[in-house]
Symmetry: none
């Protein structure tokens, strides 16, 4: 091992570890780098599991963990692990206090950022909670059945909801499921969506205030005999009229902005659930 990597024991706190890694990581060999990535991505894992369990998850040998720790100047893996454990110890009470402080005292202008962030986090958590209790598992089941049998999945969503369908396009693509994203480029949305035929399935996403184009495309598809699955905010949505299956996701808002957390969680579920079905059928 080159001598330059050998130094006295580095700072025993997590921040110190990250700082150290920031400068050393680029110079580290492949496997050690792999460990570095894993350590930053899964710090809890590093704190709570044994060396061989961590090594397995990181895709390396246990000995590599020891080498990694030593390359950074720690005496061994155990010493490095203490860094992660102390982080876990401090982090919990620390953030509980901060949260309580924020809630009680009307925050000053300086931590406006914290208040906003906290607000959006809360809205997201509330949305997820509602999703958990509000959605019928049978409906997801029906949806994934439909999607798994589709020749092509046509994804429609605009404005606020475009990110959701864009994500679905990515996820389906990665899972090897044929899907096309209607992005309305050059105002060709109607033509893009119009190519759907029986045998295909449309997924349309829209919440209040509903984008007329999305409703229109769903209506046209349905009339053409294309099954339509809708993600919307409530059962009275104008979209609900033009669909075969309606999945309701009510997001909580903070200020003028609504969370997207529940919608994305549902989207991921649909994508993976469909992939599982497709695989089982084959």
């Amino acid at each position: 091992m080159s001598a330059e990597l050998q130094q006295g024991t580095p700072r025993p706190d997590f921040e110190g570890f990250v700082a150290l890694l920031r400068e050393r990581a680029p110079l580290l060999p492949r496997r050690l780098r792999q460990v570095a990535d894993h350590a930053l991505a899964h710090p809890d894992d590093m704190a709570l599991n044994t060396a061989s369990q961590i090594a397995q998850k990181a895709g390396v040998q246990p000995s590599t963990l020891v080498r990694f720790a030593q390359a950074l100047g720690y005496s061994g893996f155990s010493e490095l692990q203490q860094v992660f454990r102390s982080r876990l110890r401090q982090q919990l009470p620390d953030h509980r206090e901060r949260l309580a402080a924020l809630r009680n005292g009307g925050a000053a202008g300086a931590d406006m950022a914290s208040v906003l962030l906290d607000g959006f986090i809360h809205a997201s958590e509330a949305s997820l909670e509602r999703l958990r209790s509000g959605l019928r598992p049978d409906d997801i089941e029906t949806a994934t059945d439909m999607l798994a049998e589709a020749r092509t999945i046509v994804l429609v969503g605009a404005r606020r909801m475009f990110p959701v369908v864009a994500y679905l396009a990515y996820a389906f693509g990665k899972l090897g499921i044929r899907a096309v994203l209607v992005d309305n480029i050059a105002s060709l949305g109607a033509e893009q969506a119009g190519m759907a035929r029986p045998g295909d399935v449309m997924v349309a996403v829209s919440c209040a205030p509903y984008t007329p184009a999305t409703i229109e495309m769903a209506a046209v598809a349905k009339a053409a005999g294309v099954p339509v699955i809708v993600l919307t905010d409530n059962a009275l949505s104008p979209l609900a009229a033009h669909c075969d299956l309606c999945l309701e996701v009510s997001e909580a808002d903070y200020g003028a902005f609504r969370s997207m957390a529940a919608t994305f969680a549902l989207a991921m579920t649909l994508a993976v659930g469909t992939a599982e079905k497709v695989r089982d059928d084959a």
Copy 2:
């Protein structure tokens, strides 16, 4: 040992442990009671230290810890400690096991859907929790300062992360803040991003596996004197090298898919925070 204390392995979660203790504690011998008190008072200690360290803090022998665990029906101290560790971990791996069990056991379909949804909801919640405690409010403050002073905000993100910048484009637009979305249409991404000049600000979003084009655009912008704000998953990200401010968001994953909840919450915070600043300046 009296037979009544011997039972099958109790529930492996922390709630179960507390419930069990509530009814058994009064009947326990002195030293075991002492352990019970310590366990409830210092659950983190129970999760993160070795048996002899814990024993010392609790004022008992290591063997007493083992007896305590066994008196409650666990096979030994190690098994009991896992209960405390999973509490810290917020039971994430538990879901993987359940999903694996479902696959093997061939459970009913509706169950599969529930497990998936539950898994993604958990991953989202864990991500939000990490965001809450892991992000420095000062960094958000700095980011919104930079954004509020920008003439035009240039938004760069690809593949998995495209939905985030697409959302930001929507949000900034709605808030009356000038922003352009680099969507790489017709492979014109470099030209789209290349129009950024000093006085503008670029927001680049990318997590592993990093899209080379995004890194490249951030590097070019930075070299041209355009301030770059980066949203990425860890400090070692190749994007971190080419930015003026690095916001780290580590999302929890479930299966092969990572949550987007924390990234979106942060994006909303940035958008609204910037709007507040712009309004105050005027």
